[in-house]
Subunit: 201 residues, 2 copies
Amino acid sequence: MAAIETPQNARSRHTSQALLKAARELIEQQGPAAATMAAVAERAGVSRRAVYLHFSSRSDLLAALFDYLNEVEDRDAAFRPLWEAADGIAALDARAQMAADFLPRIMPTARAIQQATHHDPDAAQHWELATASRYDGCRRAIELLADENRLAPQWTIQTGADMLLALSSFDVIDLLLNERQWTRRQLADHLSALYRRVFLA
Amino acid sequence: MAAIETPQNARSRHTSQALLKAARELIEQQGPAAATMAAVAERAGVSRRAVYLHFSSRSDLLAALFDYLNEVEDRDAAFRPLWEAADGIAALDARAQMAADFLPRIMPTARAIQQATHHDPDAAQHWELATASRYDGCRRAIELLADENRLAPQWTIQTGADMLLALSSFDVIDLLLNERQWTRRQLADHLSALYRRVFLA
DNA sequence: TCCCAACTTCACATGGTGTGAACTTCATAA
DNA sequence: TTATGAAGTTCACACCATGTGAAGTTGGGA
């Protein structure tokens, strides 16, 4: 259950990375169910038993994978435009851009974690943190609008941030991008325009 | 894999219903993972083996549960206002109402099926059908608006229907209603206003 | 060169799905 | 009233996934 202490030497770090990479590929190419401990091990070129030397459980592996993905895909860079936005409108646009460009890259893995959430408290907590962070971004955008007196009157900071978060949830992105085959450009543009319509006075 | 042929006598039907009811309760009270074949059987008061006399697999059970739920919760009645709407605005409102009142009632089960979808083709097909039906309702609302020349110019019938479907996806409902603790009334009102803002010229 | 962390192999427990086979129960139709 | 078959039970498997224990092997760095 508990996480494994951070590895000492380079060899161990290398194997951990290989395992995470393997897990990611399996999830993205064959779905979350395909990423069994045995399959991940084989793909990474180690024994099944060795996986447990790096991750104490499958949930632990998934949680680590989530962090790994955020780093590899440069989550900080994706969020920066939102936090550095000069005004509320820029913040909304930044949010739309992020939803269309960054979230799809971590979606398959995020889904896998979200599933584990239902029966694993550790995964659930990890998920909570990630959601909270995304919520802060939404709140920031809405607060900017409110400060500028441009927030549409039906919204409070609270409800506005809630709704903005909902409007960039994975189901929304997934449905439009994957099921309905929108392009990222289409999605970003439509979300941008939609957010303005919904939240601007 | 294949579904079991429809039962002959009343006894069989009674047991099937009991199994479906048990599965629903387990999913809603303890999450999808708790609804194992053994747990469902025990709760329904039959042996684990007997479940397979009614449903050929867990996926088959879930699919049947979905249909059962739609009937019990009167899906047709929930959709009727949308199809009988006099104009586009009424259709949007009906959609918002349905999203806030009907979808939450089937959500836990719908989630369970959506998960099975990833590794079971049968469940996937069942899910496709349900989604397609919900999509038709969205398309209908957007078409009404277009016919009345009230559809905002950035939308085509296609993209408008896509977006309306996305804006009433389970993640949206779930986040606002369950995670952010909105009331159904709040949700219906906000969705209603939001749909108007987004889709009306 | 020696040592220890990383890794391997093999064995096992647990718990879920799904199936086969033989037996019992029970409603009902002749 | 009885026999017949559908519904259900019990017990036994096979299979696969997670997770652990224990003993042995390897390889890189001080």
